[in-house]
């Protein structure tokens, strides 16, 4: 789809929605060892949780511009008038946004895991859970971005609106990541619930976002 490639191109060209998120992720993870001290075992234990929190916050960073940029230059009006169902347009924008900003976070995770003194298995577990879980955050975020599209400074509001909804993703993502390393807990159940959450929001998110934008055209 042309919309997908256009959004990827825009993210790369405007000097980096993509890079900004990764840099923020790096900043968050890099300061943790300084804050909690040089206890390697402790770092290893909190590693998965910190990586998830860092990734969650980085994902929130660029979300508010998802629709606002389109609205500011009038493109949103034209998109609303097309044959293509607007829900599909929103869905494609979300996927493009995730590929441009979420995927780099997942790719950076192994590197940042080293900073947290994590072993290979647990780095792998966090990367896989992030790969599966971060699209859900983008889809939830699209709803927040759509609601705040008319507000001039909606950025923080978007984060606050969607954080409660993103909590389940965080809970199951982190518990699946821990389950992979710690013996008694099974890995699959929380991981499959995480997959289910992502698929659920892949449907509900664009639906709600499209409805919110249609209601706010003014």
């Amino acid at each position: 789809m042309s919309l997908f490639w256009r959004d990827i191109k825009l993210a790369m060209r405007s000097g980096g929605g993509a890079l900004l998120g990764v840099l923020f992720f790096l900043a968050v993870i890099a300061v943790v060892p300084f804050a909690v001290g040089p206890d390697l075992n402790f770092l290893q234990r909190i590693g998965p949780a910190m990586l998830w929190i860092g990734a969650l916050l980085s994902t929130l960073l660029g979300l508010d511009r998802l629709f606002q940029a389109e609205r500011d230059d009038g493109s949103l009006d034209i998109m609303l008038m097309q044959e293509t169902p607007f829900i599909l347009t929103v869905f494609i924008k979300c996927v493009a946004h995730w590929v441009a900003t979420g995927l780099p976070l997942v790719l950076a995770t192994p590197l940042l895991g080293l900073l947290m003194n994590m072993d290979l298995l647990s780095i792998g577990a966090v990367s896989v859970t992030l790969l599966v879980g971060s699209p859900a955050i983008t889809f939830i975020g699209a709803v927040g971005a759509a609601v705040a599209v008319t507000l001039p400074r909606g950025g923080l509001l978007v984060s606050i609106l969607i954080l409660p909804l993103a909590i389940p993703v965080l809970i199951f993502g982190v518990s699946a990541a821990y389950a992979a390393v710690e013996e008694p807990a099974p890995f699959l159940p929380p991981f499959l619930i995480l997959c289910a959450i992502t698929m659920f929001f892949a449907v509900i998110g664009p639906l709600a976002a499209a409805a919110a934008i249609r209601a706010s055209t003014d």
Binding site: S2, L3, R6, K9, L10, R13, S14, D72, D73, G74, S75, D77, I78, M79, L80, M81, Q82, E83, T84, T217, D218
Partner: protein, 215 residues
């Protein structure tokens, strides 16, 4: 194809912007909407484009085809904003809109131009590979107008199409629009300056009478 608008009124919030706007258009006809600032010209065009809810009255686009489409899908809308990304080149922008606005049932391929041809028509061939953000206001406006040609819609809704255009470019645009009208197009434009379209119907909008009960 015929267009009927009867007793349209549109509210924004609780405020009634205009009432009782009626007109009727058939192919080759154009309508220019004039009136003082703030009288609701842009609001009317946005309402016709389906971007604002119509409070009362009816707006219909009647066609011969059996399948009814939403009104918005018959229309091109050029608003105040140019709907172009400053970071992308002119060609990339227009290619994107051409693909996005393509409709399955467009029968006549002659009505659609390539982005290159559309830009040439407006005399800006040399800007094709420049980022849109590098262009001057007038050039940006002309590129925005090029959107009209890269896909076909029978009805054009134009909100001050020639704002920021120099004399030669607005004359050029008037010529292009007239040849489009001859082919059976319909144009509805809000404007403060005479646009030089043929077959012009006028719609003079006036502010609604103040309702003194409110105060």
């Amino acid at each position: 194809m015929r267009i009927f608008a009867q007793n349209l009124s549109v509210k924004r919030g609780e405020e009634l912007i205009f009432t009782d706007v009626s007109f009727e258009l058939s192919p080759t006809e154009s309508l220019t909407i004039s009136g003082p600032n703030g009288v609701g010209k842009s609001t009317l065009l946005r309402a016709l484009a389906g971007l604002l809810p119509i409070d009362s009255g009816t707006f219909e686009i009647k066609t011969d085809s059996k399948e009814a489409k939403p009104n918005a899908e018959y229309c091109h809308y050029i608003g105040h904003k140019n709907a172009m990304k400053a970071e992308l080149t002119v060609l990339e922008n227009l290619n994107f809109w051409q693909r996005t606005m393509a409709q399955e049932d467009t029968v006549d391929d002659d009505l659609i131009m390539s982005p290159e041809a559309a830009v040439e028509l407006l005399g800006l061939s040399h800007t094709l590979d420049l980022p849109f953000g590098f262009l001057s206001q007038g050039q940006r406006r002309r590129i925005a107008l090029a959107k009209l040609f890269v896909s076909h819609r029978p009805v054009w809704l134009l909100d001050e199409p020639t704002a920021a255009l120099d004399k030669a470019s607005s004359d050029n645009f008037a010529n292009i629009t007239n040849s489009y009208l001859e082919k059976g197009g319909i144009v509805i434009a809000a404007t403060h300056v005479p646009l030089g379209f043929k077959e012009v119907k006028q719609l003079e909008m006036t502010p609604p009478p103040l309702n003194e009960d409110i105060y």
